[in-house]
């Protein structure tokens, strides 16, 4: 299909698209062909963020939104869900153009998941319940759950539209107002949502979109008027966000950071299923997923044929390299931007020096930012490609003899976002999943977050949870009232 050309490039503040006061703009590049995207997206500076926060505060404290019941808020959330679904193709195309995701995946999975989140949380908006305690000591006690205020969300470029649902829906269902910043390399779909926000009927200031990179993100993380920030991105930037949040006003922080997750394949696994999950599943979004199981641990007894099967799947994916992400038949896209492309290639070169390259390892020359699905077998456990998150189509495979060894290998990381476990033995499944040091474990499939259960990382993969009712609670605070 032809690339979309009608872009929003301003900031979306108080239900209007307005020029930023800062004069900086973003340069967007189509990762499929390296061409600039003619959208001079405006960057929000200090004054713009101050303005956004004051609108959001007014909407929260005294605007119509502050008077709505949960059931009334739900109506708007459901409307926005319907509008996202109705505009899925347009939104998917805008994301695809910016960051190279295959449009079929963007349109049929990623964008609809945003609507799924809005509908899920709409159903909780009228179900905020605290506690009440009898006056056994002469004092009645009520615990109220109240919204926080202005909540900021910062999203990465890998599945841009999903974060709109994950960060805005629970915030609004809980009665907060939201300011959202998409990644500087993939702002267009998010920015387009301003039109849908107006069409859905949200009062001004309830949902606002700002653009920019790290500097704009830092302004949000440091702002004295923001009550909570939810950040998804790299661990190193997450630590900065937490520091800025603490040093400013101790705003609440939720972090969804990186992972170096392991998939464990035992000899009694259903092999075709395990290959699908660990090979095809790993290549989802060209490996650019925080929850990617980029360390594949295979039991020795089945390792040789399993590794061959994984390589075969990777080669099959590679055969379709170079296809336009905006084409509906494309299944494998490029790296999302040049910086990521360079990063992944440099890791691959490090790995090559270690001598463990099995297949792949190359980019496809001048034609966009494609990198071949790449496998390293038995790399040095101390090597950077094995220890550090690459965030691309680069898989390290190790073998293990025993369950204990598998667990030790899997847990030997300062990350803890996701884990995969393939076995047909019920006991092993329960035993091993209990011992994996990870916030999420998928048994016998690729791990994909589900809106009704919390998604959060252990160790340096993050703090707090998104999704589910736990995610909802993180947008509320308690007030204990003692009545004599």
């Amino acid at each position: 299909m032809a690339a979309p050309t009608d872009f929003q490039t301003q900031l979306f503040l108080n239900n209007k698209y307005v020029d930023a006061k800062s004069k900086e703009t973003l340069s967007l590049v189509n990762p499929f062909n390296g061409e600039p995207i003619s959208a001079a997206v405006q960057v929000a500076g200090q004054e713009d963020i101050d303005l956004a926060v004051s609108y959001a505060q007014a909407a929260f404290k005294s605007g119509p939104w502050s008077t709505y019941t949960g059931a009334q808020r739900a109506v708007y959330l459901n409307k926005l869900a319907d509008l996202i679904d109705a505009n899925a193709h347009k939104l998917a195309a805008l994301d695809s153009l910016c960051m190279g995701a295959p449009i079929a995946v963007a349109e049929n999975f990623v964008v609809p998941q945003a609507a799924v989140a809005f509908r899920y949380y709409a159903g909780l908006a009228d179900k905020i319940e605290g506690d009440s305690f009898a006056a056994e000591d002469g004092t009645y006690r009520i615990v109220r759950h109240e919204p926080l205020g202005v909540c900021a969300g910062i999203a990465p470029w890998n599945v841009p539209m999903i974060y709109v649902g994950w960060k805005i829906a629970p915030a609004l269902a809980a009665g907060n107002t939201a300011i959202f910043k998409a990644s500087e390399s993939s702002p267009l779909a998010t920015l387009y949502l301003g039109k849908l926000v107006i069409e859905a009927g949200f009062p001004p200031g309830v949902i606002q979109f700002v653009n920019g990179g790290g500097k704009t993100g830092a302004l949000l993380a440091s702002h004295m008027g923001i009550a909570k920030i939810s950040f998804t991105g790299s661990t190193s930037v997450g630590k900065i966000v937490q520091k800025l949040a603490t040093e400013s006003n101790m705003k609440k922080v939720t972090l969804e950071l990186g992972g170096k997750s392991a998939a464990l394949v035992f000899e009694d696994a259903n092999i075709p299923n395990a290959v699908a999950g660990t090979a095809d599943g790993f290549l989802l979004n060209s490996g650019q997923m925080c929850l990617a199981t980029s360390r594949l641990l295979v039991q020795e007894s089945i390792a040789t044929p399993f590794i061959e099967a994984v390589k075969a799947r990777f080669l099959k994916a590679a055969s379709k390299l170079g296809s336009d992400p905006l084409s509906p038949t494309t299944t494998y896209g490029p790296m999302a931007n040049k910086a990521q492309f360079d990063r992944v290639l440099s890791y691959i070169n490090i790995g090559k020096e270690g001598g463990a390259l099995a297949i792949g390892g190359a980019s496809n020359g001048n034609n966009g930012l494609f990198i071949e699905p790449t496998v390293f077998v038995n790399p040095d456990k101390n090597s950077r490609i094995y220890k550090e998150e690459i965030f691309g189509p680069v898989l390290s495979i190790l073998t293990f003899k025993t369950e204990e060894e598998a667990l030790e290998l899997a847990n030997d990381t300062n990350t803890g976002l996701s884990a995969g476990l393939y076995t047909s033995d019920l006991n092993r499944a329960l035993r091993v999943s209990a011992k994996l040091e990870s916030g999420n474990v998928a048994i016998n499939s690729l791990h994909l977050p589900a809106v009704n259960v919390p998604f959060g990382g252990w160790k340096e993969s993050g703090s707090g949870q998104e999704l589910g009712r736990y995610g909802f609670q993180s947008y509320l605070k308690t007030k204990s009232v003692h009545i004599k």
């Binding site: 709409a122 159903g123 179900k127 033995d425 329960l430 009704n452 004599k484």
Partner: protein
């Protein structure tokens, strides 16, 4: 055999045409015995419609289709159930004036009360429980030697027997959580007010519910209701109505298959007005509490207990307000008082009034029939009613207030709790500590402070003592329609690994 239709005419000539059959498996059918019931307009006494009345064979058919439907329905996701409930809410909202017309003509509910209160509450209830449909989750917990988890499962084939006073709203109180929880449901509407059920049935089909998931039938309590209560395949029955009928249902449930039962059986709501109450507010709500829908509300504030310091002022204002009612056609906007739902009900209430007079209570105002072809009765109140009088003890379900004076808070509480009923109560005071103290002491399922009769989808409603058991609305209302299954996994030791 397919059924015939009825046509109703509302205000400004608005016309509604509805099939008159039993809604089973998404079709409107005649009763197999061709049995019918006549439906009268309580404002005019005229015949409104003749509709099919279900008997045992029809109930068997309905239950049979529900059981078959459940086999597939139990595989439908919570998200899909949510979407269907939202759709139904949207359709009811779209047709709110049609429902209000029907409730005005058939049940004697004032048109604006129906549209803005009852129908709106029905829609709010559906939307509230829709949001639970995808959230009926259990818990997980460790146990020694393994792990355990609970599942919240639908019960299966359920039934709801609903009353004639706020027919659509109370039907949705049962339907919404029942369906959200994943059950299938047979609704038996009251034979006095079946017409809204026919319209609701059309919308159930239009919303896209698969056949058999929601069946809506009407019939005599003694026939259709009893058949449901005795049915071996119905696993839960929710009933809202009178005490004696509720008792019969509980007995039939025990004698048949020990089906789960919830009963909402009415009340004798005490309204306590303390000296420090804001008088105008207390008068407004206390009057509404016993005159709204002619007191035909389970939560009616039918016992008004007034502290001596405020008594005289209250009585004067209450009487004035009670008499300031314009009795007329419920369809008309300027009517503020409609008829009682039936001639039988009117005469029952008259009987209570006679008894009150015989027992020596002093008539404050009212007591007489308002002459017409309909079932109109004056707003009535007695003062100096003592606790042993029938006026204080027995539910009248009419626009009759029993008023007593009290001196102290303890006396008020004692009087209020001296009842076999325990559904709802209302307190009027400006003292926060008193409000908490007294609401704590009152033996009712709901207490309202400085208002009366609030219904909200997110707060549970249901009584104690002989007002019944089980809750409608709120998350507790949802739990009534779920069974908990506990699953425990014993962890066997790891197998030896051949190296």
């Amino acid at each position: 055999m397919a059924s015939s239709t009825v046509q109703l005419t509302g205000i400004a000539g608005q016309s509604v045409e509805l099939p008159t059959g039993l809604f089973i498996n998404n079709e409107f059918l005649e009763a197999q015995s061709k049995s019918t019931v006549k439906v009268l307009n309580p404002s005019t006494g005229k015949l409104l419609a003749v509709v099919a009345a279900a008997e045992k064979q029809d109930v068997d058919l309905a239950v049979g289709t529900a059981k078959v439907a459940f086999d597939t329905w139990k595989t439908v996701s919570g998200i899909e159930r949510r979407a269907l409930l939202f759709k139904l809410a949207e359709l009811i909202e779209r047709d709110s004036e049609i429902f209000a017309t029907i409730e005005a003509l058939d049940a004697g509910v004032l048109f604006n009360d129906s549209k803005f209160l009852h129908v709106a509450a029905a829609v709010e209830t559906l939307r509230y429980f829709a949001g639970w449909a995808d959230k009926c989750n259990g818990s997980s917990m460790p146990i020694s030697g393994g792990m355990a988890y609970t599942k919240k499962e639908p019960i299966g084939v359920c039934a709801a027997v609903v009353p004639w006073n706020s027919p659509l709203m109370i039907t949705c109180w049962k339907l919404a959580p029942c369906i959200a929880a994943g059950n299938v449901l047979i609704v038996k509407t009251a034979e006095l007010t079946p017409i809204y059920g026919l319209k609701l049935a059309q919308l159930v089909k239009e919303a896209g519910f698969p056949p058999g998931v929601i069946n809506i039938i009407t019939g005599l309590g003694a026939k259709a209701g009893q058949s449901l209560a005795e049915h071996m395949e119905v696993r839960k029955l929710a009933f809202t109505g009178s005490g004696p009928v509720g008792r019969g249902i509980m007995i039939a449930a025990a004698r048949s298959n020990i089906k789960k039962v919830t009963l909402e059986l009415g009340g004798k709501g005490p309204t306590l007005i303390f000296d420090d109450a804001e008088l105008e507010n207390a008068v407004f709500w206390a009057t509404l509490g016993i005159t709204a829908h002619n007191g035909q509300i389970c939560a009616a504030g039918s016992r008004i207990l007034v502290q001596s310091g405020i008594y005289d002022q209250f009585i004067e204002a209450f009487k004035k307000r009670s008499l300031d009612a314009v009795a007329g056609d419920p369809l008309l906007a300027n009517s503020t008082k409609g008829p009682l739902a039936s001639r039988v009900q009117r005469d029952k209430v008259l009987g209570h009034i006679q008894k009150g007079i015989q027992d020596g209570a002093e008539l404050l105002h009212g007591g007489k029939v308002i002459e017409s072809d309909g079932n109109y009765l004056e707003n009535t109140a007695f003062v100096n009613v003592t606790r042993d009088m029938s006026l204080m003890r027995d539910e009248i379900f009419g626009p009759v207030a029993a008023i007593a004076k009290f001196k102290t808070e303890d006396e008020a509480i004692s009087l209020a709790n001296d009842s076999e009923y325990g559904l709802s109560s209302a307190i009027f005071t400006s003292d926060i500590s008193r409000a908490y103290r007294v609401s704590d002491a009152l033996e009712t399922g709901q207490v309202t402070i400085n208002s009366w009769g609030n219904i909200n989808a997110n707060t549970p409603f249901g009584g104690k003592k002989q007002s019944g058991f089980g809750k409608d609305l709120g998350v507790e209302g949802l739990d009534e329609w779920l069974n908990v299954k506990t699953v425990k996994v014993n962890l066997l030791p790891a197998k030896e690994v051949k190296v």
